[in-house]
């Protein structure tokens, strides 16, 4: 097998050919500014509005509730700061979880410096938020609950509908970072009681640098990017027409046959987990075994460090990722793995393999075979494994 095996779809995905094809005319031919009066401009406008429809349809939303941004991170920042600044006079308390993406966590930390109070909810060993703890955290001053739909590292899916219900009963705005969920799990914002939802195209075979914030009709938030009248004066900047068209096409494709795709993908995921667990010892599955993203596999191999593992996989043309500190340039390993109770050492030895519809059972077998050898090799080099063997 000489093909590159890409199993890092949670980091980013290749743009699908059909998506790129839909985008292409908007670079060199249909380059008009959607705000322009003339026909070249109207064509761009029509294309943007078509994409807005496609997104609205995929989420069960109205097209007036869809705002294009330049990334999942921007959507998260806008949602959180936008509500915080807008409702400052109502209260200064925000509830989130310990396992959010940095786009949420660092935004919350920034707001703390500005006088907001933030509660970071714990999660259990599977990575699930405790609804009782959530209820008990609500105060008179709580203005926002922001809990991610599905975790990017361990794949655990939160009880979003129940959280939405709690938020609604308490008249608190509810935002969910659904960057990992959109295109992977069925989402109906109305059914789920979600007020604000972030998504990013490059996670479902759309282009990088384009996202969406869904804003339920009637929810008011401050702008993050002020300026021209684009996006109904809520988000300034000349529209990224080509990428918006790509996002529209990609979300249509990704949500088109979700059920069937996911059945196949979950089976592949479970097969990969089962094979790893049966062929390698001192291994632990991270995240909930069933309430998890259909493509997410996250395991910790004790006594070894994640970056070495990734490099050796790369030498074998396999792309994966790790929650090791060494891959992020930070001192501590993944805050998510620590939050579900892993010790530092085990967290460092984690591997995430995130599958897409393009992966095959054949690839799974190849990867497992390589993993067995690599893990063994690194353990032979490890002073920690030496100790364990000594103890046995």
């Amino acid at each position: 097998m000489s093909k590159y095996i890409y199993m890092d779809n949670a980091a980013t995905t290749p743009v699908k050919e059909e998506v790129l094809e839909a985008m292409l005319p908007y670079f060199t031919e249909k380059y008009g500014n959607p705000s322009s009066v003339y026909s070249l401009g109207s064509e761009s406008k029509v294309a943007v509005e078509k994409a807005r429809e496609q997104v609205a349809k995929a989420l069960g939303a109205d097209k007036k509730e869809i705002f294009f941004t330049a990334s999942g991170s921007e959507s998260d920042n806008w949602a959180i700061k936008g509500i915080a600044y807008n409702r400052r006079n109502k209260g200064n308390h925000i509830i989130t979880s310990k396992i959010e993406h940095h786009a949420v966590l660092n935004t919350c930390k920034y707001l703390e410096k500005q006088g907001f109070e933030v509660t970071y909810l714990n999660v259990d060993s599977d990575g699930v938020v405790d609804l009782e703890e959530l209820k008990n955290s609500i105060k008179d001053t709580t203005i926002l609950i922001t809990i991610m739909f599905a975790n990017n590292e361990i794949g655990t899916i939160q009880p979003i509908k129940e959280i939405g219900q709690i938020a609604k009963e308490n008249d608190i705005v509810f935002h969910t970072d659904a960057v990992q969920a959109v295109g992977s799990v069925e989402i109906d914002v109305k059914d789920l009681n979600v007020d604000l939802l972030s998504l990013s195209a490059h996670k479902f075979h759309g282009p990088k640098g384009i996202g969406v914030l869904y804003v339920r009709q009637g929810v008011r938030l401050d702008n993050l990017i002020h300026g021209g009248g684009q996006e109904r004066s809520k988000r300034a900047g000349t529209e990224n027409v080509a990428s918006i068209v790509g996002l529209g096409k990609a979300i249509e494709l990704a949500t088109g046959n979700l059920e069937e795709k996911n059945k196949k993908l979950s089976a592949l995921r479970d097969s990969l987990i089962e094979k790893i667990e049966s062929k390698i010892d001192y291994v632990k599955l991270n995240g909930h075994r069933t309430k998890r993203l259909p493509g997410n596999v996250n395991v910790s191999f004790q006594f070894i460090e994640g970056e070495s593992l990734l490099l050796m996989l790369d030498m074998n043309k396999i792309a994966g990722s790790s929650g090791s500190a060494c891959t992020s340039g930070a001192l501590d390993p993944s805050h998510v793995l620590l939050a579900i109770g892993l010790d530092h050492e085990t967290a460092h030895g984690s591997l995430r393999l995130s599958l897409s519809e393009f992966n095959t059972e054949e690839e799974i077998d190849f990867v497992v075979e390589k993993l067995v050898g690599i893990v063994d090799r690194l353990r032979q080099m490890s002073p920690l494994y030496e100790k364990i063997k000594g103890e046995k």
């Binding site: 006594f303 994640g306 060494c326």
Partner: protein, 144 residues
Amino acid sequence: MYSEKVMEHFMNPRNVGEIEDADGVGEVGNAKCGDIMKMYLKIDNGIIQDVKFKTFGCGSAIASSSMATELIKGKTIDEAMNITNKAVAEALDGLPPIKMHCSVLAEQAIKSALLDYSKKYNVHIEGLDDVDFSDDHHDHIEEE
């Protein structure tokens, strides 16, 4: 990200293993930070006759360990004491800034093993008195 030299030493590390009857053994780093280096020395006549290592850590930690052992093998204790983290990094054709601490760990592993030797055999080694093996060698990325 890494130079070819780093990748070469990572994929084919020299001197991996243990020395049963080592004259000096040093272990630095900790699992919390993601790297532990353990170094074994066989010393005879003030010359490092053999050296082995075991490392838990990232690619550059393993490559730095490998390179460090190569640099001190067959050298005198004094020569080994003069191996700086910069020398290790340079011998690897450089390390990314964020990974420089791996070369620091390698230097410390050598010194820690020599300290063990000096205590075991009651030999004074110039320059070992003021060595600090604290872990505070990471680059912190600041965000405002």
